[in-house]
């Protein structure tokens, strides 16, 4: 989430779901929270019942809209217009929270005079190279006045999802010129004013398709619920991320929250609702190709960093918290390579793989379709149904030599060689597929890191059946086999594998909750992995208590510095704690939140510059003048003993540079970034671009869509031109509560399937009547990529909008179906193009164009591949007397 790290310092939700109940106004946009996150939505309902306004701004009226106090329909892909409109209102009406904004953000900072705004340049910012379609981030186009050119610490273009230190490195000196009188034309707030001046209510209504009144009501309520006494929160999810402008949409929300003084305060913040279980965990300890654990950059071949010293010099940040980078890197190498990592061999830095190009998912599958990838492991991934342009993905999988699928049932990605809408001929497919059944959540122990950085442990309840095994079992045993295969190799490149610490075997046989010994003898000890992630001292093996104990002299090992504290001493697994104090919603003994068990990040901002709570009503963290410490309801996110009036001495470095009124100390200037001098690849300020596929023109610029978005030019990925008469409808995709993702975790479960048994698309009565479609009819939805069939749900919940003086119809497409499982149906991902955003390699699955006609495809849909099991199986419960058998067994 580069948007949040570029605004606040860390790329994660700033707050936690329980705290939404403290909010006075909640704006839910790009999220269908009631359906996709129903358990967290309880806190939104609580806030609403306490009197908070809840706005749902979304292309389709969902269960979230039904539970909100106000619903505002907008055309998909116009979120920056809507948010920019609110920013404009805040600035025009001078209703920004001055006492917060001036000290805590870079509002007064002066930007260098080479900067040219997109508003003055036809829709591109200064520094755009039309050849590469990228901005020249290595030149100081968007930098603070007086900053040196960032030659070294700039992110290589092949690395998507930026490391946090690289964001921070955009500000080197940290003491930029500031004009607190806001007279300088190039101070950030004035740039902001000019940039959003054209986002008027008329323009918002005309582009988004809502009414001016609807828009102004949201803006007014957001402004009313800010300041000392009141706060508002913004909730988003993949409805914002899955755009070519996704990172910038989130940036717009983060800017708004800074202007309103809502970041780091109770009831405020930007609540990112992550799209998958433990997806936060999978970026913290990343499955990403370009990050090391804890948001440290993976070394890149193009950067020529042959030694650790080279690498650390390139990634060096002199001010703010990232001065500690060398400690985190050396301790990570010690955790990975143990005794083999010595000062003499650079702690084994040469064994860390270098990235050579963009290895993110979408480009990799495009290459795979060209036959350039030989083998693939799929674990909890279903690209044959669950990734954009599923047809291209299946074509890619058919080019592989081998494929390992670990999942619960034979889903689309394990049966693409014989099933699917493209009717493959198995005889022509050479891919050898290994299907390994996976253990379910209750059949393995471990942690999930949820959307609010909360690391929660779960125990294993029982052994998995048959050959099902945990993913950790698979990875650990695969590693053991590989190590024995390579044993004795003298090749330097094999040193990393051979020296990898891999000692996770159980010391004692594993005991299950019922006291019996597990029948599985080769499962690793998950807690050992967590202990290594937490970190320990090499000398005596004792656990590290906090990340300030991590060193760069090889005396500590730490698998992921931000997790330190989760296992602070022998036998103390804090992610297992479950103590909730009734009546309190900040519960430090309920699991462990990184960093340092802080539930709300940047909470220094919940106190005024002098360290006092902004108001009694919004007390959270404050400076205790007697004890000379920060204290409060949460773990303060600030050096505990740094007084509010601390001012850095000239020449100070590291955390000494951070003033007592700088809550965003992960940034090297300690400020929240309204204007991002670095960390974002497509502009320092969010600006409106149309989705690549869109029926509308860009009301602002000649430059219609995001200039940095890339479209793989392959035959299976055709794109509809702007305002294509063949595809005049706007398509958007979403989830239903009853299913999960492409169905890999739900479409084999009868209890869920009976609740949503078939694919449908939602269309408005106006569109239905134009197409002669009756409610319940079969319809074919087509895009330039493919076509699917579905039942028509004709409902007033879909709104046809007035955009630029004409009617635009939107088609709502749930994403859950596919051709494998107990219930099947047209899969939304057949229709979605592969368009890749420059920041994080994200597709644009939330906004594309399509056509709808009545009827069916010539090839009827597949029949279910799994017979209906009528859960549950009718065997009696074991070890249970007849009277205590479930009531419904005979029913």
């Amino acid at each position: 989430m580069p948007s949040l790290s570029a605004t606040f310092g860390r790329g994660a939700a700033t707050t936690f779901q329980e705290d939404l109940q403290s909010s006075d106004c909640i704006l839910i946009m790009g999220s269908n929270m009631a359906e996709a996150h129903p358990v967290g939505f309880r806190f939104v309902v609580k806030a609403r019942e306490k009197g908070a306004k809840v706005f749902h701004v979304d292309p389709h009226f969902s269960r979230t809209s039904a539970c909100a106090t106000n619903y505002v329909p907008i055309r998909t892909g116009t979120d920056i217009v809507f948010l920019g409109g609110i920013i404009n209102q805040v600035l025009q009406q001078e209703r920004w929270f001055k006492e917060y904004v001036l000290p805590y953000t870079n509002a007064a900072t002066i930007i260098n005079d080479q900067y040219v705004d997109a508003e003055d340049n036809g829709g591109v910012f200064s520094g755009f190279d039309p050849e590469t379609k990228l901005y020249e981030l290595d030149k100081a186009h968007w930098h603070y006045a007086g900053e040196p050119t960032p030659s070294a610490a700039v992110v290589p273009p092949e690395a998507k999802a930026q490391a946090w230190n690289q964001t921070s490195a955009a500000v080197k000196r940290g003491t930029p010129g500031r004009d607190f009188t806001l007279q300088h034309p190039n101070c950030v707030l004035n740039i902001l004013r000019r940039h959003y001046a054209r986002y008027t209510p008329e323009m918002v209504a005309n582009t988004c398709g809502c009414t001016q009144e609807q828009f102004l009501e949201v803006a007014e309520q957001m402004m009313l619920n800010s300041g000392r006494e009141r706060t508002g929160a913004i909730v988003y999810a993949v409805g914002w991320t899955q755009h070519t402008t996704g990172v910038q949409i989130i940036r717009a929300a983060a800017i708004l929250q800074l202007l309103l003084g809502n970041a780091g305060r109770p009831g405020g913040g930007v609540m990112a609702m992550r799209g998958h279980a433990s997806i936060q965990g999978s970026t913290d300890i990343p499955t990403l190709y370009n990050l090391l654990p804890g948001y440290i950059p993976q070394p890149a071949k193009s950067r020529q960093c042959n030694t650790l010293a080279d690498y650390l010099e390139q990634e060096k940040v002199e001010r703010g918290y990232w001065v500690n980078l060398p400690k985190f890197v050396v301790s990570l190498l010690k955790a990975w390579y143990g005794d083999a990592a010595t000062q003499e061999n650079d702690w084994g830095f040469s064994w860390v793989p270098r990235i050579t190009e963009d290895h993110s998912q979408l480009p990799t599958f495009v290459k795979m379709a060209e036959g350039k990838v030989r083998g693939l492991f799929l674990m909890g991934q279903n690209p044959a149904a669950g990734a954009p342009n599923a047809r291209l993905n299946r074509e890619a999988l058919r080019q592989l030599d081998w494929l390992v699928v670990r999942d619960f049932f034979l889903l689309e990605s394990a049966t693409f060689w014989k099933d699917g809408p493209d009717r493959p001929d198995p005889a022509t497919i050479g891919t050898e597929i290994f299907f390994l059944p996976a253990a379910a959540g209750a059949e393995k122990p471990g942690t999930l890191t949820n959307t609010q950085r909360l690391i929660q442990w779960h125990d294993k309840a029982m052994d998995p059946p048959g050959d099902c095994r945990s993913d950790l079992w698979f990875i650990w045993n695969l590693g053991r086999h590989l190590k024995s295969l390579y044993a004795g190799s003298a090749e330097p490149r094999d040193g990393g594998l051979l020296n990898l610490t891999w000692n996770y075997a159980h010391d004692q046989p594993e005991v299950l909750p019922d006291g019996s010994v597990s029948r599985l003898q080769d499962e690793p000890d998950t807690e050992k992995v967590l202990r290594e992630i937490n970190g320990y001292r090499i000398s005596d093996g004792s656990q590290l208590k906090a990340f300030d104990e991590i060193t760069d002299d090889g005396s500590t090992a730490c698998g992921c510095w931000i997790y330190t504290g989760v296992y602070p001493e022998e036998g103390c697994n804090r992610s297992r704690d479950r103590i909730a104090v009734p009546g309190r919603h900040v519960n430090p003994d309920w699991a462990f939140a990184w960093p340092a068990n802080r539930r709300m990040m940047y909470n220094r901002a919940s106190a005024d510059p002098d360290g006092n709570p902004w108001s009694e009503r919004k007390r959270y963290v404050w400076w205790d003048g007697e004890q000379k410490r920060w204290t409060g309801l949460d773990v303060p996110d600030f050096p505990l003993d740094k007084p509010p009036d601390y001012r850095a001495a000239p020449g100070a470095t590291g955390m000494d540079f951070i003033d007592g009124d700088s809550p965003f100390f992960m940034h090297s200037d300690g400020k929240g970034w309204l204007f991002a001098p670095g960390g974002i690849k497509d502009g320092p300020l969010p600006t409106h671009y149309e989705p690549v596929e869109s029926p509308a023109s860009n009301p602002l610029y000649e430059q219609r869509s995001n200039p940095t978005a890339s479209i793989p030019e392959v035959p299976l990925n055709p794109i509809a031109p702007p305002a294509d008469p063949d595809y005049p409808l706007v398509a958007t995709t979403y989830r239903l509560t009853e299913h999960y993702l492409s169905g890999g975790m739900s479409r084999f479960d009868s209890w869920l399937n009976e609740l949503q048994p078939a694919m449908f698309v939602e269309i408005s009565p106006e569109l239905a009547s134009e197409r002669g479609v009756q409610h319940g009819d079969w319809v074919v939805v087509s895009s330039p990529r493919s076509a699917i069939e579905a039942r028509a749900m004709v409902t007033p919940r879909m709104h046809s909008l007035r955009v630029e003086g004409r009617t635009v119809h939107q088609v709502g497409i749930p994403i859950h179906f596919g051709y494998a499982g107990e219930v099947t149906g047209g899969q939304a991902n057949e229709l979605i193009p592969i368009i890749i955003d420059a920041n994080v390699s994200m597709h644009e699955g939330k906004a594309f164009t399509c056509q709808v006609r009545k009827g069916r495809l010539s090839q009827p849909s597949d029949t279910p591949s799994v017979p209906v099991a009528s859960r549950p199986q009718q065997e009696p419960m074991p070890d249970t007397p007849t009277q205590a058998q479930p009531e419904g067994r005979s029913a």
């Binding site: 939505f41 309902v45 269960r63 239903l736 209890w751 609740l755 409902t795 919940r797 009531e887």
Partner: protein, 273 residues
């Protein structure tokens, strides 16, 4: 010849003392807090081991459950309303057996299979039910149904087994927004009245409690609802019909008609033509 009887065989024939009465327990379902997630439906099926009912898309909004049945004991209704002033409203409510304080199903049951248990819940004793189906016809809410599998009538047990172990029913446990609350009925009624005042004060003056108090001949329910639309919008009867309430009147009418007919026939027969 002596017949040896296994003593265990007779155990089931001995009538044991009923457990001591507990305070009446029930549900308060607040539709204004329901988010339509159907977690109650799934939790109920999972705990009670109920099978899925089929994979049929109904097109009735997001409701593919349709109705309460022998194998569906919670049912979330979805009501879409296009508002006259523009815009749309979507109402959710989780329907369940009402555990009527005067339950027509129990009155209609000829075998005594339907009882009030110690928690004052209406409970079908599956081993006594003979499957006659009178209760199915008697229930004005369409709660009871006869199972295709075993031919007997089934419905919500209010998780009798869980209550005996001191834990709340599965649906209430699973409900993320506390739209379904389980507890002592008297306390729930107080809570519901208080909640009703809040909801009305916050701009929904039309809100009301369904079944919290006696309504005409129908006595109050142990599972009652807070609703914001007329009952029909949630598939609930406006005035539930209690067959037994009209029985005295109907017997009188039958007797009167019978008497009248007898008299008439007597008169006709006395006058030969």
């Amino acid at each position: 010849m002596e017949v040896e009887v296994n003593p265990g065989l007779l155990e089931g024939l001995v009538k044991s003392e009923p457990p001591p009465a507990h305070v009446p327990m029930g549900f308060f379902t607040d539709s204004t807090l329901c988010i339509g997630c159907k977690a109650c439906e799934v939790a109920c099926k999972q705990w009670n081991g109920l099978p899925a009912d089929g994979m049929e898309w109904t097109g009735q909004s997001y409701d593919n459950t349709r109705q309460l049945s022998a194998t569906t004991w919670r049912h979330v209704t979805f009501t879409e309303q296009a508002l006259p002033q523009g815009g749309v409203r979507w109402l959710f409510n989780s329907d369940v057996c009402k555990h009527c304080t005067e339950a027509p199903c129990r009155q209609a049951c000829p075998t005594g299979a339907i009882i009030r248990n110690e928690f004052d819940n209406v409970y079908v004793q599956q081993d006594i039910c003979n499957g006659c189906g009178y209760c199915v016809a008697a229930c004005p809410f369409g709660v009871l149904a006869r199972s295709e599998a075993d031919g007997t009538a089934h419905k919500c047990t209010l998780c009798y087994d869980r209550q005996k172990d001191g834990i709340e029913p599965a649906c209430a446990k699973a409900c993320p927004t506390d739209s379904i609350v389980f507890g002592p009925v008297e306390q729930l009624r107080r809570q519901a009245r208080q909640r009703l005042d809040e909801v009305r004060a916050k701009g929904q003056p039309q809100a009301y409690l369904y079944g919290a108090e006696d309504a005409g001949e129908y006595k109050r329910l142990n599972a009652f609802f807070l609703l914001t639309e007329e009952p029909a919008a949630y598939n609930l009867p406006e005035a539930p019909y209690l067959p037994s309430a009209s029985m005295r009147r109907k017997y009188m009418w039958s007797a009167a008609v019978g008497l009248g007919l007898s008299l008439l026939s007597a008169v006709i027969l006395r006058e030969p033509t």
